[in-house]
């Protein structure tokens, strides 16, 4: 992988990490309401996948969607403003953390219903196929969603119609509090792809290079009209399902062991060891990201609340 893209991925991972750390702080200070589902520990997936996409390519995301949205081009300031329900947020305070979308950047939306974004991504791919464009569509979903019927319906549909869609299953070990082995019939979720006659891969979801390799292949296949690919990225949710999760379903030791496998640190070490970058250069990136997050926070905090008299705006498209 060329340096430019590696650095882009490195920066995006930091943007996601620091954005979410700040969101958590703001939540703890009561500056945020609702649910904030954090992606910390899983950043390599969103950043690497989106490093291979153009603005014209589509994604759909999940309730744990900040990472995908940022990697697909969401700016930090309106994203954080949306988490705070401000009028300057992506959805002008109508959607919140779980519904950030930016169709102009190909983000067809985060989605708070587990699995619901998956057929929507297939629809994005269908639009591309109907137009004869070379756009691809990526859907991010979790191990939990892999047990939703609509995900299987979308996989079948995509395979039958040879849609240019890539199913990215982020297996972070838990569906809320239920360990994947209690909820899921298979050890590697990617084996389910065989039922729909599409290639399936299971990769280390904290390994940028492993993800890059299979996603590149999947994109090529999609653009070539051969249809969908299923990629399971094994990773781990460092924090609770949501901010108030007591996390009785796992040990601190288990969490600490996964923190040792931090995807950001891993890429950092690689970049330095292989002399692709220097510690100094990487620290500078981290510091720049921190400034961007500070600015986003300031922007969000200072932004006005939406006008309650306009609460009914945007229900319908006014023809």
């Amino acid at each position: 992988m060329e340096k430019e893209r590696l650095i882009w991925i490195y920066r995006k991972m930091h943007e996601i990490r620091k954005f979410e750390e700040r969101a958590l702080q703001l939540f703890e200070k009561d500056k945020l309401r609702g649910s904030v589902h954090l992606y910390i520990g899983e950043e390599a997936i969103a950043a690497t996948v989106c490093s291979l996409l153009r603005d014209s390519d589509y994604i759909t995301s999940t309730h744990r969607g900040h990472g995908h949205c940022i990697a697909k081009g969401a700016e930090l300031a309106p994203a954080l403003a949306e988490l705070m329900g401000k009028s300057t947020g992506y959805c002008q305070g109508r959607g919140g953390s779980m519904h950030i979308a930016d169709v102009t950047k190909g983000n067809l939306g985060a989605n708070a219903i587990v699995g619901a974004g998956v057929p929507i991504a297939a629809g994005g791919a269908l639009a591309a196929q109907l137009r004869g464009s070379d756009q691809v569509s990526v859907t991010f979903f979790g191990d939990g969603a892999s047990n939703e019927g609509v995900v299987h319906e979308a996989m079948n549909l995509a395979s039958v119609w040879k849609l240019p869609v890539i199913f990215i299953c982020e297996n972070n070990e838990f569906g809320i509090s239920t360990p994947v082995k209690q909820s899921t019939s298979v050890k590697d979720i990617s084996v389910r792809s065989a039922a729909y006659d599409m290639p399936g891969y299971t990769v280390d979801g904290n390994d940028v290079f492993a993800i890059d390799e299979v996603v590149s292949k999947a994109i090529e296949r999609a653009k070539d009209g051969q249809g969908p690919t299923f990629i399971e990225c094994k990773t781990y949710r460092w924090l609770g399902h949501w901010t108030g999760d007591p996390q009785i379903y796992r040990t601190k030791e288990e969490v600490e062991a996964w923190k040792e496998k931090c995807p950001i640190k891993r890429l950092e070490n690689y970049l330095i060891e292989n002399k692709i970058s220097t510690e100094e250069e990487l620290k500078k990136i981290e510091a720049d990201v921190l400034v961007a997050v500070d600015e986003a926070e300031k922007f969000a905090l200072e932004s006005p609340e939406p006008d309650p008299s306009k609460a009914l705006e945007y229900v319908y498209f006014e023809n």
Binding site: Y90, G149, L157, W161, E313
Partner: protein
């Protein structure tokens, strides 16, 4: 004008609009070679090809989601549900996704999606293939709900739907498909949403009816003329948006209203319409607003039982006389 059946009126508008707008495509169960089990898409495959006229797997939630995604991505999908009862299988994609996405995204997404199909009694299909589900979709903001009662209305409302940029639930009725009527030939013939049709003028009582009950209400109203009762029959044509003004103006004139539909009476469209009348025209009312709808019972298989559950013409007649204290 051309005389044609309701199903043909639908097919013709689909074809005309597909010629006009290459973003429109249709998908659904058995709609391609088969032309749909009621023939509403017959011949479209031959003209437009398998890319734009697609048979789907029997995966209502999956292909409804694909419709939502394709709409978001700039296409204008028409999703045919073989029975509108199956909308419940796809409920999340319709009610949580299609209806809410534009709002949740702060107006930054447009979702032109027409979901159409037939519903209702009359063919012995029993409870899961004979019910009327429009009230469910009226309840969730973000959807428009159309219910054509004639071939001309089917044509004019469908063309409006296909030129709209919102998700639309388009409820056809299986017993209306073979009903013939005059349909304007104008390729731009549209009937705006939210504009009720005063099917018959009258001064004594207002009957608000939808779908196949418009015809039944009209039959009763014509019969009552001979008894000196002059009923006004109004077909709202769309339930969302709803033409409150036309209905309220009528009730201000007649002082009496009954609402009749095939959907269940309990929490049905009539409950909403009766409330609107009470809110807007209470002091003009000379009698309580009556609602007629299917009884609170799953639609039965047996014809005699089915008839016992849904309103009959005699029930409409009785209701009219009741509000006239006759």
């Amino acid at each position: 004008m051309s005389r044609k059946a309701y199903a043909i009126a639908i097919k013709d508008v689909l074809a005309e609009e597909m010629r006009r707008d290459d973003r429109i495509f249709i998908m659904g169960e058995d709609i391609a070679e088969q032309g749909g089990i009621f023939g509403c898409t017959r011949g479209l495959l031959e003209e437009f090809g398998e890319s734009r006229v697609r048979n789907t797997p029997i995966s209502e939630a999956g292909f409804m989601g694909a419709g939502v995604g394709a709409a978001l991505a700039g296409m204008k999908p028409v999703v045919e549900l073989m029975y509108m009862d199956f909308s419940l299988v796809a409920a999340d994609q319709i009610l949580n996704q299609a209806a809410k996405i534009r709002y949740m995204y702060g107006g930054k997404a447009t979702l032109p999606l027409v979901i159409r199909g037939q519903q209702g009694i009359g063919r012995g299909n029993a409870a899961t293939h004979s019910q009327s589900t429009e009230a469910i979709f009226m309840h969730i903001p973000g959807l428009k709900v159309a219910m054509p009662s004639t071939p001309a209305d089917a044509a004019g409302l469908l063309r409006t739907a296909l030129r709209d940029n919102n998700p639309i639930m388009f409820f056809e009725h299986k017993l209306l498909y073979s009903v013939k009527g005059e349909v304007p030939d104008d390729p731009d013939f549209v009937i705006p949403f939210g504009k009720a049709n005063i099917v018959k003028e009258g001064n004594d009582v207002t009957i608000i009816a939808t779908s196949q009950y418009v015809g039944k209400a009209l039959t009763v109203a014509n019969k009552l003329e001979s008894e000196g009762i002059c009923a006004e029959v109004i077909d709202p044509r769309t339930l969302v948006p709803f033409d409150t003004e036309t209905v309220v103006n009528s009730v201000k004139k007649t002082g009496r209203a009954i609402v009749v539909h095939e959907a269940h009476k309990n929490a049905g469209p009539g409950a909403e319409i009766a409330s609107l009348i009470m809110e807007e025209a209470f002091k003009y009312l000379d009698a309580p607003v009556l609602r007629l709808g299917a009884k609170a019972c799953p639609l039965p298989f047996n014809l005699g039982l089915e008839n016992a559950v849904v309103p009959q013409e005699e029930d409409i007649e009785k209701a009219v006389k009741s509000v006239l204290y006759k």
